[in-house]
């Protein structure tokens, strides 16, 4: 067996693990590399950075995933420009809210997992299979979630067989729920969801979906102190990713900025917050 890092004794040259999953490979061959922090004493851990508002919504021809950039630890800012939306492969994205450390690690493991499966099997997983794998990984994190290190991501991607965008939300037990329209999680999720609910249409194009996402994140930042707004002085913009048949693309900062300036102009006239 070829081993880049030390581990248990291999049975023979084939190694001890024969399957197609990278997550299981780590469990069997390299348990010391597992992102497992379940056995760390009693009581909640609340001084580590938490990510806040992320959202996903379908549009005509795909699905959009977006998140603000703020991470908080208690009442302090832990980071102003943390990235919470990740492309996990060419056609899927994961957005994280909750404990930043384990969440970011889980996104990293998932993207290796998807690539690993594709190389071993010679064929990529179906979008359903990817979402299912993520829910198993979240379930494994349950002991840590009980200590306050919850990982509650959104997963979205373009389904190449159904030719449409799809999205899922999860709970800390690994429960997986497909949403037909949109969802938002994190501390400002409730405000983002309200804004999207008022503006969402099934036949929206990419551009109006991106505008609605900026509106929703602005509303969340307005109502929830732990969600970061768009910071024009520091030039910190939310991450907005678009998954369509062409693959995952980043929405340009210039487009986000102009959508945000429209939102500000409307707000200046008074009335609603967005």
């Amino acid at each position: 067996m070829l081993r880049p890092c030390s581990g248990g004794e291999p049975v023979d040259w084939r190694g001890n693990y024969q399957g197609s999953s990278f997550f299981e490979l780590l469990q069997v061959e390299q348990p010391q590399l597992m992102p497992n922090i379940s056995a760390m004493g009693q009581g909640p851990i609340d001084s580590i950075p938490h990510g806040t508002t992320v959202l996903a919504m379908r549009y005509e021809g795909g699905v959009l995933v977006a998140g603000d950039r703020l991470a908080t630890a208690g009442h302090s800012v832990a980071s102003r420009d943390v990235v919470k939306v990740f492309a996990t492969d060419s056609h899927s994205c994961m957005a994280i809210s909750g404990a930043a450390g384990p969440s970011i690690e889980m996104a990293k493991v998932l993207s290796v997992e998807l690539e690993h499966y594709e190389k071993i099997e010679g064929q990529a997983l179906e979008l359903d299979g990817k979402a299912n794998k993520l829910s198993q990984m979240i379930r494994q994190n349950l002991p840590a979630a009980m200590q306050g290190l919850a990982v509650v991501p959104l997963f979205a991607g373009f389904d190449l067989r159904r030719r449409s965008g799809r999205l899922w939300k999860f709970d800390i037990t690994g429960g997986r729920y497909e949403e037909a329209e949109f969802d938002a999680t994190g501390s400002g999720g409730i405000y983002a969801r309200e804004t999207i609910k008022q503006g969402w249409r099934s036949d929206m194009d990419q551009e109006s979906a991106a505008k609605l996402a900026v509106d929703a994140l602005t509303a969340a930042a307005d109502e929830d102190r732990a969600t970061g707004g768009i910071d024009l002085e520091r030039r910190i913009f939310p991450i907005v990713k678009l998954c369509s048949s062409a693959g995952v693309e980043d929405c340009l900062e210039a487009n986000i900025e102009s959508a945000y300036r429209d939102t500000l102009a409307r707000r200046a006239k008074g009335g609603s917050s967005s």
Partner: protein
């Protein structure tokens, strides 16, 4: 009193080597070529079972001989690379370390096990333009006994290495386009094919690592893409 059976170590090794060579010599050949855009791998293969595969961002694998054995080697290579890239960084996964690890593992099987692996493999790595010291491509060949060698321009494994290498020694050109390289790979394999046969897009497996692509460089060319390249020659 009967004499216990004795065979000298030289005899045992020679027998194992002969056994492995016999298995490999029945197989078809694979050629890896450096071209302007990266590294090309062309295999004579009429089946849908792949002999060439992706290992990591800039590393590809090709194997001849017993399918179950070289495919297993391909998989442990993917496991090695993905684990290393996860534990350290993607840039830390290098072809040389992988080829060395293969050499160790295959050599170990050759000495310890009753039956040696009936395989030969190529580990190909495409250069990285971002770093001064990583611009060159690397081609490594590992034999059934773990013997490792590195090659420039081209590398051949399989049933008839000598004829293909002879052809390439007098015909290889550096800096070819993708289509020219595919045609060169085909002609090289033609020269080593038993009946001097004319290989076509349906009897070739063609993969390449394109150094200009971001991230994962490996691509498998479709039958249609190969047909177009062969037709325009």
């Amino acid at each position: 009193m009967s004499m216990p059976f004795y065979a000298s170590p030289e005899q045992i090794m020679a027998d194992k080597a002969e056994f492995a060579r016999k298995g490999i010599s029945r197989g078809k050949s694979i050629v890896a070529l450096e071209f302007a855009g990266g590294v090309l791998l062309v295999a004579e293969n009429a089946t849908s079972l792949s002999k060439v595969g992706e290992i990591y961002d800039r590393i590809a694998f090709a194997g001849v001989g017993k399918f179950s054995e070289f495919d297993q080697l391909r998989k442990i290579g993917v496991r090695f690379a993905d684990t290393k890239g996860y534990a350290y960084s993607r840039e830390d996964v290098a072809g040389q370390a992988l080829a060395n690890a293969y050499s160790q593992a295959i050599g170990e099987v050759f000495t310890r096990e009753m039956k040696p692996l009936e395989i030969e493999i190529i580990v190909a790595e495409v250069g990285d333009d971002r770093w001064e010291d990583h611009r060159k491509n690397s081609l490594y060949r590992v034999n059934f006994d773990g013997f490792i060698s590195d090659h420039a321009n081209y590398c051949v494994i399989g049933g008839n290495v000598a004829d293909v290498e002879t052809w390439l020694a007098s015909n290889y050109q550096a800096g070819l386009s993708t289509a020219d390289a595919v045609r060169m790979g085909k002609k090289a394999l033609d020269s080593g094919s038993e009946r001097g046969s004319n290989l076509t897009e349906t009897t070739l497996e063609v993969c390449l690592m394109d150094r200009t692509r971001p991230g994962r460089k490996f691509t498998r060319l479709s039958v249609e893409e190969v047909r177009v390249m062969l037709d325009n020659g």
